[in-house]
Structures are given as structure tokens and as C-alpha cells.
């Protein structure tokens, strides 16, 4: 029977959330002793799918089979009992405990007093078998990130798992640590264990996996053998082919520099360098697209330009003025308006009315403000103008903005920023979550302000969007600027490869 070759089978898995469908009819199979890579952009539904396998979510529809038997996985404990272990991107370890203590933590069959000798012996056995090099009595906080990851693997092995799910395991590793991890994965595979490897890095997929499944917008679009595909084909599968719009882009000769960023360095809250020595310029009248897989420093770069983060090094000159580390309001008043990626988290106050949200950029200026009193009549007039000109569907502008749909919220935010008549508009994922009509509307707006001689920085993961409306494209990878290319001279695959960290000169 062929069925028996599969250690795990997921049939027709659908997961619906109130707002979206994160997984649509996914059919996925995992053979015994294979490394199966799950590839997809952020928001493609990888994490949701893994959480279903690991019992964090229940699927709306569909069933899961393990060794040809149907199972219901309601909690992570169920998953473990069915032999599924997960290695999370953010480790689930207690720093102040030893490796051994972390391993037995939460295990119910150990009794009240832990037989340390027995556990230790077993740990060393496992460690030797897979070349993990674990010291059971060492405290976790003394270990490097790579070693901590090995502890996570041992934890799962100790619990007798046969199926391993690794959620972007290399994201936290230094390049030198990636090789040894892959070595361990190969040993696990040889021992008959099955591995699901989640990533969006194409090189790693090619290096270690046997089969590859590609998720896109919640659907599993392809499952292929590694030997049958090239990196370029994978890149194309990942981003897909979207509807392309025709835009009326005026010929423009770019000369004058509007924004000049030099050697910019920014650190994230975690202390990690998130923008690494970026030098970049934006000309007057151009749309500069910034491509990159999310989390590679694009957000932090533009937030620093908008005054929301502090640069540790470097300068930002805008229209002849030094705006490095100035306040958000200073930057906004000098003509940079910013549309943030996560509009509910930053950019809108969801409990407040549409009026309160619409005047966020001009409540401190005439005619909205007179003295220290806000003229709410004027504010309503201003809001109504935004609503009318951008055809925002809203029942009552006095009611909370959270009652609007995502698309209409975005329109209102977009319009609010455009009404300020910026010299430079920074738009992060402006069309994320919008329907086709709204997407087209937003893109046309960006083109039209470009045609007026103003500039736009567009951050997007959607390569079609970037390619169709940008004049130049800057690609970022792990905080660095991989390269800047003219939009007319490259294709999607090239950009896709650059997004995976490959420099233009290294692409043949």
C-alpha cells in the first residue's frame, strides 16, 4: 500500500477567521524520512497551517491522518502524543534552568522526583546519536542561540516525536550555524524521522529539502520534487502572477535629489542591528520601490526617515534640510507623509470617530484649530471632503472608525496623508488587504502624485505592484541594501533572487 509511505497527511484543510480565510483546501503529505520544505511569503498561511498541525488552531474543515489513521489534534499535547514536535522560531526555554531541567519540564510521566541519572544518560545517548553535542547540566542562558536550538530539538526527540516542524529555524542563526543544523536534519532524516521545514529562503530549500510545497495566499499551489525545479521557478511560484494594471505613467527625467540617506544604521528594540549602513536617494518625481521579504529592515528604514525611530549613525537630508532624528511632526511638517504598514497598530485610533482619525495631521493647524479649541464643525467638513473625494463607504463619520472595512479605513488614512500635499509620500504595503478596485485606486493615486512631480517610496512584497509602478527598485535583505535597479531593466525573478540575498552581479 502506498498510503503507508506517508507519516502525515492533511486533507482539504481550510481555516477561516472572521476577517479572512487563512488556509483554503490545503492537501499536504509528508513521507517517512523526508525533509519537506514549506515555502511562501509572509501572510501566505504557513504559520496558520503549522499551528493547525500542532494543535494551536482547529481547522474549520478538513482532516489530518497520521500513519493512515485519522486524528483530531486539539492541543499541542495531542500533537506530541501523536509524535508531532515543533521547534518554534522563538525558543520556549527557561533561561535559569539547566538543559536537563528544560527537557523534562512539563513532562507528566516523570513522576514527582526526577531520576536525573536516567534522564542524563538518555540525553547523552540522543546527543551522541545525532551529533548534537549537548551538555545536560549547563544552564540555558550560557548557551549560544545555535546551542539553544539544539536543546529544542533534543526536547522534541526526548518526547519521542517522529515528525518535526521547524518554523523558520535559520532566521535566528548566524550563517555559520546553518550548516551544522542542516547536518542534524539529515541525520534525523536518515533515522526515519520526517521533517517539515518552514522558510522563505530559497537557498536553504535547495540545500536541504527533498520535496517542496509552495503556499500562496492561503492555497497550496504546488508540491514538487527538489530535483525538478530551479530557484527561479520557485521564486515565481511564490509570488505568483497577479492582475496587472495599465497605468498612465508620464515620461520623466529625474535629476534633482529630494531625499538623500547616507550610511544609515538603526537598531531594533531587541538590540539587533536592523538597518545596516543603508545609502539611498530618491529623486523628485520618481517612485522608488523597496522590495524585500518582510522583516528585512524596510519598515525600520522608512520609520527612521519618518522620525519614528532613532538612527544610531548616518544622515537623512530631505530637500536640503537635515531631518536625521527629528520628531515625527517636524518631518511631517516639512513634507514627508507616511502610511504605516499596520494601520490599526499605527496610524489610526480605532475606537475614535472617523472625524478624530481624519484630522490627525491637521488638528493643530488652522482652520481646524483656533486658539486651543478644535473646531469640530470644520473638522467634520474636512472629513466629509476626504470621504467624498476618495469615496470612502461610511455610514456616519461620527461613529468609531473600527466599524469601517479594512479597505475603507485604508482609503481614509491614505486620503488623510495625501490631503497634506506631501513632497514625499512613504507608503508601506498600501494595498495589503484591499480588494481589486481599492488596490487599483491606491496605485493610481500614487502614479498621479508622481506625475505631478512629487516622490513616493513604496514598500511592498507584491513584486507585481513594485514592478508595475516603480521607477527604480531598491532591494533589502537582512538590513542591507542589496542593490538598486531600474524597473524597466529587470524581471521578477531577478528581484526575487535579490530578495533572497543574492547580489545582482552574482545572478547570471
Amino acid at each position: 500500500m502506498q498510503e503507508n509511505n506517508f507519516s502525515l497527511k492533511a486533507v482539504n484543510i481550510t481555516k477561516k477567521f472572521p476577517e479572512t480565510t487563512a488556509n483554503k483546501g490545503i492537501n499536504f503529505s509528508l513521507k517517512k524520512g523526508e525533509i519537506h520544505a514549506l515555502l511562501g511569503e509572509n501572510g501566505a498561511g504557513k504559520t496558520t497551517f503549522m499551528n493547525i498541525l500542532y494543535g494551536i488552531y482547529m481547522p474549520t474543515e478538513g482532516s489530518i491522518y497520521i500513519d493512515s489513521k485519522e486524528v483530531k489534534i486539539k492541543t499541542p499535547l495531542d500533537a506530541l502524543q501523536n509524535g508531532i514536535g515543533m521547534i518554534h522560531q522563538h525558543f520556549m526555554l527557561v533561561d535559569s534552568l539547566t538543559v536537563l531541567e528544560n527537557v523534562v519540564l512539563g513532562m507528566k510521566n516523570q513522576g514527582i522526583v526526577i531520576d536525573r541519572k536516567k534522564v542524563k544518560q538518555k540525553l547523552i545517548e540522543i546527543s551522541n546519536m545525532y551529533g548534537l553535542d549537548i551538555e545536560p547540566d549547563k544552564k540555558v542562558w550560557k548557551l549560544s542561540v545555535g546551542q539553544q536550538q539544539k536543546v529544542e530539538i533534543v526536547k522534541v526527540l526526548f518526547r519521542g516525536a517522529n515528525i518535526f516542524i521547524l518554523d523558520e529555524p535559520t532566521a535566528v542563526l548566524r550563517p555559520q550555524e546553518t550548516g551544522p543544523l542542516f547536518e542534524i536534519l539529515r541525520k534525523l532524516k536518515k533515522d526515519g524521522k520526517s521533517i517539515i521545514f518552514i522558510t522563505h529562503k530559497l537557498d536553504e530549500v535547495m540545500a536541504v529539502s527533498d520535496r517542496i510545497s509552495v503556499l500562496r495566499k492561503g492555497e497550496l499551489v504546488h508540491t514538487v520534487n527538489k530535483n525538478d525545479v530551479t530557484k527561479e521557478q520557485l521564486a515565481q511560484m511564490m509570488v505568483g502572477r497577479a492582475v496587472l494594471f495599465d497605468f498612465d505613467k508620464k515620461e520623466q527625467h529625474f535629476q534633482e535629489t529630494l531625499l538623500d540617506v547616507k550610511n544609515l544604521n538603526v537598531y531594533a528594540e531587541s538590540g539587533m542591528k536592523i538597518v545596516d549602513d543603508v545609502t539611498l536617494d530618491v529623486k523628485k518625481g520618481e517612485i522608488l520601490g523597496i522590495a524585500g521579504i518582510s522583516g528585512n529592515g524596510q519598515q525600520e528604514l522608512v520609520q527612521t526617515i519618518a522620525g519614528l525611530r532613532k538612527a544610531s549613525k548616518g544622515t537623512i537630508i530631505f530637500d536640503g534640510i537635515d531631518i536625521t532624528n527629528k520628531t515625527p511632526r517636524y518631518v511631517a511638517q516639512h513634507g514627508i507623509n507616511y502610511i504605516p504598514a499596520d494601520r490599526i497598530g499605527m496610524g489610526l485610533a480605532s475606537e475614535l470617530s472617523c472625524i478624530d482619525n481624519a484630522i490627525m495631521r491637521n488638528y493643530y493647524k488652522k482652520p481646524i484649530l483656533s486658539g486651543c479649541v478644535i473646531n469640530y464643525k470644520q473638522a467634520a467638513v474636512h472629513t466629509q471632503r476626504i470621504v467624498d473625494e476618495f469615496s470612502v463607504a461610511v455610514a456616519d463619520i461620527k461613529r468609531p472608525i473600527k466599524l469601517l472595512s479594512g479597505g475603507n479605513m485604508q482609503k481614509l488614512l491614505f486620503a488623510r496623508e495625501l490631503f497634506e500635499d506631501p513632497k514625499l509620500l512613504i507608503a508601506s504595503y498600501p494595498s495589503r488587504g484591499l480588494d481589486l478596485a481599492a488596490t487599483e485606486f491606491v496605485r493610481k493615486q500614487m502614479i498621479s502624485i508622481r506625475n505631478e512631480g512629487k516622490s513616493v517610496i513604496l514598500i511592498s512584497e507584491d513584486l507585481d505592484e513594485i514592478l508595475s509602478i516603480s521607477d527604480r527598485i531598491a532591494v533589502m535583505y537582512s538590513g542591507q541594501l542589496i542593490g538598486v535597479v531600474n524597473a524597466g531593466q529587470v524581471d521578477k525573478n531577478t528581484i526575487g533572487l535579490m530578495m533572497a540575498g543574492i547580489k545582482l552581479e552574482d545572478i547570471d
Partner: protein
């Protein structure tokens, strides 16, 4: 299966019902406690009600208790709207009382009344504001949680008061009691209704409610408060200085609590002592929540809770019921209203 469904809109009617029901739950459990000690709870509540609202004089006593509640609550509404949790009105009230008493005790008693009262007025504001400035600065610059710092400063304020009352501010002729010397006539707030204890402080309270309503609903500062309270990240994005606004609002809140302290010593007690009814600082937190941080609702709630306070004193004497009952009713009402938030945002549904 029972489940909660998110409501889109919250009507004012359901807010009012939940407030009143919460208070009734408090009264219900208070009634049980009274019955346990063998006293008829209905008789107690009847007496409480008559003593709070039954006659003009008892109602005036209710207004006397409502005055500090109103002053403190208006200030709390301002900071609570910003999601800054000032639990320190108790200490700010004491500090306001101390600062204003300084003038009454140490200035020449023949100072003109308007001058003396102005000094005390601003002293009260200043004392409360400075005491609130400490946690505000700690929060803004060092991210110290204001709930803890304001709460702990309450105890420090009380010990400062004790230090003064057992030390240099004690009246040498008080036979060792921790009291200051009585305030001169020039340091006493005028009474606005004859034969009652309702002082000019009640007018201050009314003005404070109107001012806070105006600030929140009409001004730039109020707008910034709303945005910060709803989403501090968005506030920062919009160029609002979050730290500056927190410090300003905290100081206003402290100043109003300090003013309540001034009104109490200058309008009611007429000397400084250890027992200043600073518990108004805690009761006001309940009043603010029961009113959903709405200034006008807080006016009504203050009168209601003022009645509970003043009626509570009377039943202690007339019915021999401990005043603690009032605290019990208040705290159960707070629990109920906080617990009832879920019914505001969700409705209960049944699904098979």
C-alpha cells in the same frame, strides 16, 4: 453552547443600566452582611436613604461629601481617558491639604480673606500637582508603572502628614492630640447655603466638571488625550508628545485632588489633622468608573456616592451598623461594574 458575540455599538442606555445594576448588586451583598449581624437590612437602607436624601439638611450633607468626590473624579477622568492609572488621589489630596494649611497656620491671621483663601487655593493645587508630578516623571522617563508608584506615594503622603501633626505643626494647646491650631476665620471657605456645611468648594467642583468636559470634548489637549488613550503608537506617529501630555494631565489630576484636600480643611474641618477623609481618593476611582469616564455622569454618580457616604455616617449612629458596610457596597459595585464590561462589549448567545 453559550458563547459571547461582539457587539458593534454600545448604547448609552445599556451603560446606565449596567451602572445601576452594579450598584444594586453592591447593595444586595451589603444587605446580606447587615442581615448576618442580625439587623434588618431594609430598615438600615431606609434609614440610609432618609439620611442621605430625606431632608434638605441631609441632602446638603450629601453635597458636602459629593464635593471632594466631584473634584477628584474630574481629574481622574482626564488621566484615565489617557489610560494612565493614577491611584494616588489619596496622597495628592493630603498634600493639597498640607500645602494649603501652611498658609492658614503660619500666615498672619489678619490677612484679608480673599488673599488668604487665594493663597490656600493655589497652595492646594500646587501640593497635589507636585505630588502627582513625581510618578508622572518616573513613568515618562524611566517607565516606572504609575499604579505602583502612585499607590506607594499615598503612604508617604500620610506619613508626611503624621510627621507634621506629631511634630512642628501640632497645636501646643491641643493636649497632645495630633491637630494643628484652628484656622482663623479668614482661612475658612464661605458657606453658600445658610445653615448647611456646603461651602464655596461645591462651586469649585461644578466648575471643575464643566472645565474637564470642555477640555476633553473641545480642545487640542483633549484630542491628544483621546488619541494617546486609544493608541499611544498612533499618537507618536501623529507627532503628539506623549510624555508631555502625560505629565500635564497627571499634574492637573493631582491639582484637582489637592484642591479637594484644601476644600476639606478650609471648608469643613477648619484645622489640619491626621483624619482628613482622604479615602475620597479611592472612592473617586469607583465613581469615575461607574460614570464611564463621562464628566456629566460623574456629577450624578458623585451625588449618589456622596449620599452613600453621608448616609453611612448616620446609620452608624442611628442603626449601630458599622460604616464599613459603605466600603463593602462601594467595592462590590466596582467589582460588578468591571466584571460587567464584558456585557457592554459582547452579548450572550446560545448556539447548538
Amino acid at each position: 453552547m453559550l458563547y459571547f458575540e461582539k457587539k458593534e455599538n454600545i448604547s448609552n442606555k445599556s451603560k446606565l443600566i449596567i451602572s445601576l445594576v452594579s450598584l444594586l448588586i453592591g447593595i444586595f451583598f451589603g444587605g446580606i452582611a447587615i442581615a448576618v449581624v442580625g439587623i434588618n437590612p431594609f430598615a438600615v437602607y431606609k434609614s440610609l436613604f432618609t439620611n442621605a436624601f430625606g431632608s434638605w439638611y441631609s441632602f446638603s450633607e450629601t453635597l458636602v461629601a459629593a464635593t471632594p468626590l466631584l473634584l477628584i473624579t474630574s481629574g481622574l477622568i482626564l488621566v484615565f481617558r489617557m489610560s494612565v492609572w493614577n491611584i494616588g488621589a489619596y496622597g495628592q489630596y493630603i498634600m493639597g491639604a498640607i500645602f494649603s494649611s501652611y498658609f492658614a497656620i503660619f500666615m498672619p491671621p489678619d490677612l484679608s480673606k480673599p488673599l488668604m483663601l487665594s493663597l490656600m487655593f493655589f497652595g492646594g493645587l500646587l501640593g497635589g500637582a507636585l505630588w502627582a508630578l513625581i510618578p508622572a516623571v518616573l513613568k515618562v522617563f524611566w517607565e516606572v508603572n504609575e499604579v505602583i508608584s502612585t499607590l506607594l506615594l499615598n503612604y508617604i503622603a500620610l506619613y508626611v502628614l503624621k510627621f507634621l501633626m506629631y511634630g512642628s505643626w501640632r497645636n501646643p494647646t491641643s493636649y497632645g492630640f495630633p491637630l494643628s491650631k484652628p484656622f482663623p476665620e479668614s482661612a475658612q471657605l464661605p458657606i453658600i447655603f445658610q445653615h448647611t456645611r456646603v461651602s464655596l468648594g461645591f462651586v469649585f467642583a461644578l466648575l471643575a466638571v464643566i472645565a474637564v468636559w470642555f477640555v476633553i470634548s473641545k480642545t487640542k489637549f483633549g484630542y491628544e488625550i483621546k488619541v494617546i488613550g486609544n493608541n499611544p503608537t498612533t499618537a507618536k506617529y501623529a507627532g503628539i508628545s506623549v510624555g508631555k501630555n502625560i505629565i500635564t494631565a497627571m499634574m492637573i489630576s493631582g491639582a484637582l485632588a489637592g484642591l479637594a484636600g484644601m476644600v476639606q480643611v478650609s471648608g469643613i474641618i477648619h484645622f489640619l489633622q491626621i483624619k482628613l477623609n482622604a479615602n475620597y481618593g479611592y472612592t473617586s476611582i469607583i465613581v469615575a468608573w461607574v460614570s464611564y469616564l463621562n464628566p456629566f455622569l460623574s456629577f450624578m454618580s458623585s451625588i449618589l456616592f456622596g449620599g452613600l457616604e453621608s448616609g453611612g455616617y448616620s446609620i452608624q449612629i442611628s442603626m449601630r451598623v458599622s460604616y464599613g458596610i459603605v466600603g463593602l457596597i462601594e467595592s462590590i459595585a466596582l467589582f460588578s461594574i468591571v466584571g460587567a464590561q464584558i456585557f457592554l462589549n459582547y452579548r450572550l448567545r446560545w448556539k447548538k
